[in-house]
């Protein structure tokens, strides 16, 4: 009987003493879940609210019923927006701007990063720092001088850049190129020097080293930089607001705000729908390239 009690006692006590690590781990997990849930609620509430509102008619939005519930769901807002030529023009403009900006950015920054990280030349280190400093200048400081600049260009050459969607193709790279170049410099720096020396001895030119060795090896970094460039050029608000005014030249973020807010009349249903539609492309891209993006952020995994 005595032995039985000792076994009884040691039975439950053993996993506790043995499992102090796992209890600690469980507590840590609980806390992380707690904060993750808070985080998720904080960040997902606005999109959920947008989704709910986008499914309501104006009458229902104006009605003082529970704003978190759709009583009479309708796709009216989607139908209206997707058949309005104005809205489709915004999408087209945004797409054009983003595609061109992303292409230009990636070409320029990959070439620049390769030159700055591998072809040691006079002033390359200073130049690399300079590029990063460019990124630190806020756009709020730049849009007036840029505006003035484009006006001067028009004055002297007759080329009208203001109020044209393609002016954004000239302006956005000032935001995307420095940061992407910086990311790529870091990524290229993690590629062992012997790899390009081996390529050099194998007979590769600088361009072949870049295209056949560096780009494939640094692909995760390039994808991360591409996503960044796309996000910036898709969501940029201040520059298009300052440089474009005609409704056929607007891009989505500005277009939604200017065309759907008439005076003090806010067409909430359509604004939310437009914002949701505008948010879709980055979401899709993130979803597909997430793995690469994460791999790109945890750079340096190229050893071997």
């Amino acid at each position: 009987m005595a032995t039985a009690t000792t076994i009884d006692k040691s039975g439950p006590s053993r996993p506790i003493s043995h499992g102090s690590m796992s209890q600690d781990r469980r507590r840590a997990l609980l806390w992380s879940y707690f904060f993750l849930v808070v985080f998720v609620i904080f960040f997902l509430t606005p999109p959920v609210y947008m989704l709910i509102t986008s499914l309501k008619s104006s009458t229902e939005i104006a009605g003082a019923r529970n704003p978190w519930w759709v009583f009479e769901p309708t796709l009216m807002n989607y139908q209206t927006l997707l058949t309005s030529t104005e809205f489709l023009t915004f999408i087209l403009n945004s797409s054009m701007v983003s595609i061109i900006v992303v292409s230009v950015t990636m070409i320029v920054s990959v070439l620049a990063a390769f030159a700055l990280s591998r072809m040691r030349f006079w002033g390359s280190a200073t130049l690399a720092t300079g590029i990063f400093l460019c990124y630190l200048i806020p756009e709020t400081l730049l849009f007036i001088p840029l505006f003035k600049m484009f006006a001067v260009v028009n004055e002297f050459t007759g080329i009208q850049l203001l109020n044209k969607w393609y002016v954004l193709v000239l302006v956005y790279p000032t935001l995307t190129v420095p940061f992407c170049t910086w990311i790529m410099i870091g990524y290229f720096a993690s590629i062992p020097k012997e790899l390009d020396e081996a390529a050099l001895i194998d007979g590769a030119t600088y361009m072949q080293t870049l295209t056949k060795i560096f780009i494939p090896v640094a692909l995760p970094g390039i994808i991360a930089a591409t996503i960044f460039a796309f996000t910036v050029s898709w969501a940029q608000f201040l520059y298009p607001l300052a440089f474009t005014t005609s409704s056929d030249q607007l891009v989505l973020p500005v277009g939604i705000v200017t065309s759907l807010i008439k005076g003090d009349v806010y067409n909430w249903g359509q604004i939310m729908t437009g914002a949701l539609i505008a948010a879709a492309p980055p979401l899709v891209i993130y979803a597909f390239l997430m793995d690469y993006y994460i791999a790109g952020l945890t750079a340096g995994a190229t050893k071997g």
């Binding site: 012997e194 020396e197 081996a198 050099l200 001895i201 007979g203 060795i213 071997g304």
Partner: protein, 366 residues
């Protein structure tokens, strides 16, 4: 013909000299090893031969052509790096064929050459793998395969075995020697490991502080070092150096060591050494294997002496013994059966046929 010639080769990094004017002739099909401590300029020299470093002064020629301003790809060389430098996104086949593909060699020709090299190195089964999926030794083989495939005039090896564990290193060393015997390509090999240098080389080039100390076959360097640096660098455990004096007595010379020890100089060296009698700054050098236990039939140039041991290190086939002469630690190698024990006196035998006399001021072996 692929001889490599270096003439007054100099390399400065900003004002710091790395290589201070070296001359070297490497003949066709020769296996030459550059060896020295880190920072001696051996890797820089190799990289200058490869064309990866600019030359500050002097001349490099490969196969009779000066290549100072020839880019690496046109020097007809292949290099194996310490960290292998395999292209991580390519398969073994793609890695090995990269150079040929850039040269636009026909596909079936490429396949033939890669398969030939893969057979030499015994990596035929690995051709479809990525470098990630290979072990260190296999990666090393692939790196060598990439060099062989290009059928260059000269192979350059930059410490290729340093990343491998001790056992694999010995195995790959033999492998490299075998490959060289098969392909007979002129080879320049850099290492800091003197054992690697001795075992692989037709000739060893010992470098120190940007200069060549001595060039010679492994045996020459071992038995006839020209400087105190070479004497101390080649051989493990290293040669013992004991400050000494040189005296003349009754027509014979003798080396006077601290602690009342004195050894007669072998008579065949009397002529060579006589002019140094009475000089200060002399150092007596003797390798550990020439300090052994005594035995019956000793020759006239072997001298008995007695010492109290400080430490013994049994190695199985031999026992390393350590004792002090005039405050200098001296190492010897005795038979495990000689009964060497720490703190015990033991009769030892110095084989003076292999002694060296060194001028400490100039660092030259006399």
């Amino acid at each position: 013909m692929a001889q490599v010639t270096l003439r007054k080769l100099v390399k400065n990094y900003d004002e710091t000299p790395a290589v201070r004017g070296i001359d070297l002739d490497i003949v066709d099909k020769e296996f030459v090893v550059l060896v020295g401590p880190s920072g001696c300029g051996k890797s820089t020299t190799l990289r200058m031969i490869a064309g990866l470093e600019d030359i500050t002064g002097g001349e490099i020629s490969i196969g009779g052509h000066v290549v100072n301003d020839v880019p690496p790809k046109d020097r007809d060389i292949a290099m194996v790096f310490q960290n292998y430098a395999l292209y991580p996104h390519m398969t073994v086949f793609e890695n090995m064929s990269f150079g040929l593909r850039l040269k636009k060699v026909p596909k079936d020709e490429i396949r033939k050459q890669v398969e030939h090299a893969a057979r030499i190195l015994d990596i035929s089964e690995l051709l479809d793998r990525k470098p990630k999926q290979l072990s260190g030794g296999q990666r090393q083989r692939v790196a060598m395969g990439r060099a062989i495939v290009r059928d260059p005039k000269v192979f350059l090896f930059d410490e290729p075995l340093s990343n491998l564990d001790a056992k694999l290193r010995v195995q790959m060393r033999t492998e490299i020697k075998k490959v060289h015997q098969k392909v007979r390509t002129t080879t320049v090999y850099v290492t800091h490991d003197q054992v690697e240098a001795m075992t692989l080389a037709d000739r060893v080039v010992v470098m120190n502080a940007g200069r060549i100390e001595q060039v010679g076959t492994p045996n020459e360097l071992y038995h006839h070092p020209r400087t105190v640096f070479v004497a101390g660098f080649i051989g493990s455990p290293a040669m013992n150096f004991i400050p000494c004096g040189l005296e003349q007595a009754a027509g014979a010379l003798r080396v006077v060591l601290p602690d009342g020890l004195a050894f007669p100089v072998p008579s065949d060296r009397t002529d060579r050494y006589t002019k140094h009698v009475g000089k200060s700054n002399l150092v007596f050098g003797l390798r550990p294997e020439h300090i052994t236990e005594t035995h019956r039939n000793i020759d006239p140039n072997q001298e008995r002496f007695q010492m109290t041991l400080e430490v013994t290190e049994p190695m199985g086939m031999e026992t390393l013994i350590y004792f002090q002469i005039g405050g200098v630690e001296v190492c010897g190698r005795v038979n495990p059966a000689a009964g060497a024990e720490p703190s015990q006196p033991i009769d030892l035998l110095a084989d003076l046929n292999h002694m060296h006399l060194i001028d400490a001021q100039s660092g030259l072996v006399l």
